[in-house]
């Protein structure tokens, strides 16, 4: 969620600072403060009550109304992902593995099939084999085992594991877009707004870590994992507190409740009904 442009605006020389108005200085201070808080935030935070979001929007009645709607619909828990550009991939992977860990049927078949998909998309085995091993070992965790949730959470807060899981999710997203022709017509360079090729889009906006996910990437990863993903938009746009939910792969064969993400402009977190 931290864009390059934002960083640039913070690196002005002393003479630039003198030219800023009080309001601009205040805004810059706020951003610096937010960024420093953001840098200390764990990659995946422990579960919190969704009501903590009220603190962030105490002056925005439209947002507060939407937060109440979410709570009333049963989304009582929020698990936050760090805003480092990888939040969508990290959040979805965590939600996916957490659900797998707690499900009774627990079939890892779909994950096992993903390596074939990566090979078909042209990725070299030495690129994905180790990330896949890490993902598989987390997919073996069972809620019945003591400390399984703690172990999953620890793995996601440790960059040495967590970033490889993000990498694998990015590879899957890229593979889905490369294999599935329906994506080709919807790819735009987010910088120039010009249409671009699947290869160019994947190389520049999917495969590198730190590049934020847009609608297209969400759709592709939901398909690749064959899971129903539901995204709740907390945007303050509806005065009556209505929350827009957007479904991806609603008819996924991988049954069970959808994985629910909370979207705020530029950022994804996880929503859950039960802790």
């Amino acid at each position: 969620m931290r864009t390059i442009g934002r960083h640039k605006s913070l690196t002005c020389s002393p003479s630039d600072i003198a030219d800023l108005t009080q309001a601009q200085l205040y805004e810059m201070n706020q951003r610096l403060l937010e960024e420093s808080m953001e840098s200390e935030r764990p990659l995946i935070s422990p579960p919190e009550a969704t009501s903590v979001l009220r603190n962030e929007y105490s002056n925005s009645p439209d947002f507060l109304a939407q937060i109440e709607t979410l709570i009333n619909r049963g989304y009582k828990i929020i698990i936050r992902a760090k805003g480092d550009g990888d939040c969508f991939y990290r959040a979805l992977a965590f939600a996916y593995l957490d659900r797998l860990m707690r499900s009774t049927g627990h079939s890892n078949d779909r994950l096992a099939a993903t390596t074939d998909m990566l090979a078909k998309a042209g990725f070299d085995e030495c690129v994905y084999d180790q990330p896949y091993e890490m993902l598989q070992s987390l997919a073996q965790l069972r809620a019945s085992r003591t400390n399984a949730r703690e172990e999953l959470w620890q793995s996601f807060t440790d960059p040495a594991t967590s970033n490889y899981i993000v990498m694998y999710m990015r590879l899957l997203t890229s593979a889905q877009m490369r294999i599935d022709e329906q994506f080709a017509d919807f790819l735009f360079d987010p910088e120039s707004q010009m249409q671009t090729s699947v290869d160019d889009f994947c190389r520049r906006f999917v495969e590198p870590l730190g590049k934020e996910a847009d609608h297209v990437q969400v759709a592709a990863l939901a398909q690749a994992l064959d899971v129903h993903v539901k995204v709740a938009y907390l945007d303050g746009h509806a005065a009556d507190g209505q929350v827009n939910f957007v479904d991806f792969s609603e008819n996924a064969s991988h049954g069970g409740d959808p994985l629910v993400l909370l979207y705020r402009p530029g950022h994804y977190d996880i929503l859950q009904k039960n802790a």
Binding site: T11, D124, V127, Q130
Partner: protein, 163 residues
Amino acid sequence: MASVSSRRLRKELSEIHVEGCPCGIKLISADDFETWFFSIEVLGESLYQGEVFNLMFRFDANYPISSPAVQFVVDKDHQAPIHPHVYSNGHICASILGTEWSPVLSVTAVCVTLQSMLASCKAKERPVDNDRYVRTAPDNPKKTRFQYHGETIRSHATQENVS
């Protein structure tokens, strides 16, 4: 257990030994999983006909999540190619080594990209801020925040170096 980074590099190296390097690229040395050297030349017609350059790759423990530090070798026997995106100290301004690095890229893929960067060069000239940059450049090019431009624009680095 060997680290992820060294296991990945071991596999890349064994692929190089089995399949060989792409045309125009040769492995000079890879004695450990920290520093590798390659020679690189542009085959066919180009502004660099007959010139051979050496590339140095330095890997940290976070490779391939973090990019390798890649630069042309500059010493008494080697010079950096004269190119709008290559500084005379060997540092290279290329997005794939910075914000567009991805763990999908291998060492040989980086070599090939740099080779084609040279092959498509239209005018042999240094980046606009070459002298200023080289005076204050850090040892490791990854500490520089480069500004990336299209092929036609000569590079420049931002004044401050990232920590």
